[in-house]
């Protein structure tokens, strides 16, 4: 591997990950650090209702549009969808008391209202990704009249499924003491995520990279993902504390015990069509954690699609590019 190592080093040193995001877009709303983007269409419209992508708070949303040949958003645009994306920004010390209710009622609701008003609609399609899927479920249950179709992607619902290692660890930690009155460092969270599979995530992937002897394009692909993985925003302390205690420790959503700002989040009130996209090899959100949604929503039009992919592979793998956007577009077009 020695020769490969030198070649790989040279390729990595020359790699220019480039600006995150590849598709043309316009910022259509900003409230504090939260921005709403609308992507420029690149194909003939196939679905008239716009699709709002709600990404997780714990990572940056440009993973949805990493590069031209690895972009879920690009795939959706190619399918003729009208795509919006929320960028939650990087919370700082002034955001430490921002709660989940603030994210839902002020930021998410504000973005939804903006789109509905701009397009003279009563309801839109929503795609929630990972933790953003949980936010989407909560929002949809609280304001079902604003949602036409809901899509959840690698979204945990039952946080106490047996394979959920993160949940097992979180349940014994005094989260209120850990968070204190501050924010939670994104770097610390990254350490936690790496600890889930330390041999694979801190060694094998780099050794494999050396062995693969990547060319410049391969090195740039690697570096873009690497950049994204470690570009982790700090988490607004209050929202993080609520999320871990309510979802990971107490599993309130799955047990129908969740209240946000005095309003019950009852998934049975969710009667719009639901598409649940699951990665069979997802180590962060085990399939069982997502599949539980079926028994919890009130919708009679529920579809679950499982892909033989991991968590990140669901956004950027070659197979995902072929299968995921087309599946979403086909499902939406039928409704």
């Amino acid at each position: 591997m020695t020769n490969n190592s030198f070649s790989a080093l040279a390729a990595l040193a020359a790699a220019t990950p480039g600006a995150a995001g590849c598709s043309e877009r316009e910022m259509v709303r900003q409230s504090g650090k939260v921005k709403l983007y609308r992507y420029r269409p690149i194909a003939r419209p196939s679905v008239s209702t716009p699709l709002l992508i709600v990404y997780a708070l714990v990572n940056r949303p440009y993973m949805m549009d990493l590069q031209e040949d690895r972009s879920l958003i690009r795939g959706l645009l190619n399918e003729g969808l009208d795509v919006y994306l929320i960028d939650w920004g990087y919370p700082d010390g002034a955001d430490r008391f921002t709660t989940l209710a603030d994210y839902l009622d002020d930021h998410l609701a504000g973005c939804v209202a903006h789109i509905l008003e701009a397009q003279h609609l009563d309801a839109l399609n929503m795609l929630g990704v990972c933790q953003g899927g949980v936010l989407s479920l909560c929002f949809s249950a609280l304001q079902p009249q604003r949602i036409k179709n809901l899509i959840t992607m690698v979204t945990p619902v039952d946080f106490h499924s047996p394979a959920d290692l993160l949940s097992k660890w979180a349940r014994r930690i005094d989260i209120a003491a850990w968070v204190g009155d501050g924010n939670v460092s994104g770097d610390v969270l990254n350490q936690l995520f790496l600890s889930l599979m330390p041999f694979r995530l801190t060694q094998q992937k780099y050794v494999d990279l050396l062995a693969a002897n990547p060319d410049r394009a391969g090195a740039e692909n690697f570096m873009r993902v690497e950049q994204w993985i470690f570009d982790s925003p700090d988490q607004a302390g209050a929202a993080f504390r609520e999320f871990v205690i309510w979802f990971y420790q107490e599993n309130r959503l799955a047990q129908n015990r969740l209240e946000i700002s005095g309003r019950k989040v009852d998934l049975r009130t969710l009667r719009v069509p639901v598409l649940n996209l699951i990665g069979k090899r997802d180590h962060l959100v085990p399939p069982a954690a997502s599949l539980a949604l079926k028994g919890l929503v009130g919708s009679r039009d529920y579809t679950a699609l499982e892909f033989d992919l991991g968590h990140i592979g669901m956004y950027i793998s070659a197979r995902a590019q072929h299968e995921v956007p087309a599946s979403i577009a086909k499902w939406l077009a039928a409704r």
Binding site: K168, W169, R172, D174, G182, L196, A211, E226
Partner: protein, 270 residues
């Protein structure tokens, strides 16, 4: 090249790799060397195994497999798992014995230092337990790996075969680690580590606040109070705007906002 992700990558790789220097190498590409070294050591051990096992009778092949597993155990014995990064490098060493009497005008500071010392002792104790789980996982993985090799005839030592063997080794290591990580003792050790770290940080913050007040500097608590007041005003303003919208009556409203309260700290589960 954008410097940030690259520098981040180098620092990261230097921190996590067996034998890597904990500091100083992050500024140049030689930080990649540990991964190349790791590959070379793995290849050397694999070639020794192939030499010993090829065309050998079963007992000799089994011995070569076990030797391969042992050398991997050795190679990975000092792996730095993420929770152990700060061991011996960060924080303050205990300055006060936990149970000594606190006397005089600085009594509060002494008590605080004692609590920090006790928290630090618990942090180190939890780190040792976690590191032991890591070492046990590597030992178990080496045994599983060796047994698997002994049961299967060796392939020709091609680059593909070596890479495949490396993948098998990582699978063994992750499986062994996952068995430990899902278990109650590991979860408890991790929780003890995090909870003790929280207590240590809380005491440190209290000490800094105390010093800041003596110097008439703004403290974190004071800034937090102002932030909470500002947020309460923002919420009230938003609620008033919302009420003035004609369609407001049809939209479910959140409960009236008040200044964010500190959440009472919950006891960790035993």
């Amino acid at each position: 090249m954008q410097p940030d992700p690259w520098a981040q990558w180098l620092a990261f790789s230097a921190r996590f790799t067996p034998g890597a220097s904990p500091s100083g190498t992050a500024q140049n590409a030689s930080s990649f060397a540990p991964f190349a070294d790791l590959s070379e050591h793995f290849n050397a051990a694999a070639r020794a195994y192939f030499d010993g096992a090829a065309n050998a009778p079963a007992p000799a092949a089994a011995a070569a497999a076990q030797s391969f597993g042992d050398s991997l155990r050795e190679l990975f014995s000092d792996i730095q798992l993420p929770w152990n990064l700060s061991a011996g490098t960060g924080g303050a060493p205990p300055m006060f014995a936990p149970n000594s009497p606190a006397l005089g005008a600085s009594r509060e500071s002494q008590l605080r230092a004692q609590r920090m010392a006790e928290a630090w002792r618990r942090i180190e104790e939890a780190q040792r337990r976690l590191q032991r789980f890591g070492a046990d996982a590597v030992r178990e993985a080496a045994a599983t790996f060796g047994a698997g090799l002994a049961a299967a005839p060796p392939q020709a030592p091609s680059a593909e075969a070596l890479h495949k063997l490396y993948g098998t080794w990582i699978d063994c290591a992750e499986d062994a680690y996952a068995r430990a990580a899902h278990g109650e003792p590991f979860c408890n050790a991790l929780a003890d580590y995090v909870n003790a770290s929280s207590e240590w940080r809380k005491e440190l913050q209290a000490g800094i606040e105390h010093s800041a007040k003596l110097l008439d500097l703004p403290t974190r608590s004071e800034i937090n109070t102002l932030t909470q007041r500002l947020m309460a005003v923002e919420h009230e303003l938003r609620a008033l705007r919302e009420q003035s919208r004609p369609e407001a009556a049809a939209t479910p409203q959140r409960a009236p906002q008040r200044a964010p309260q500190r959440v009472p700290r919950k006891k960790a589960k035993p």
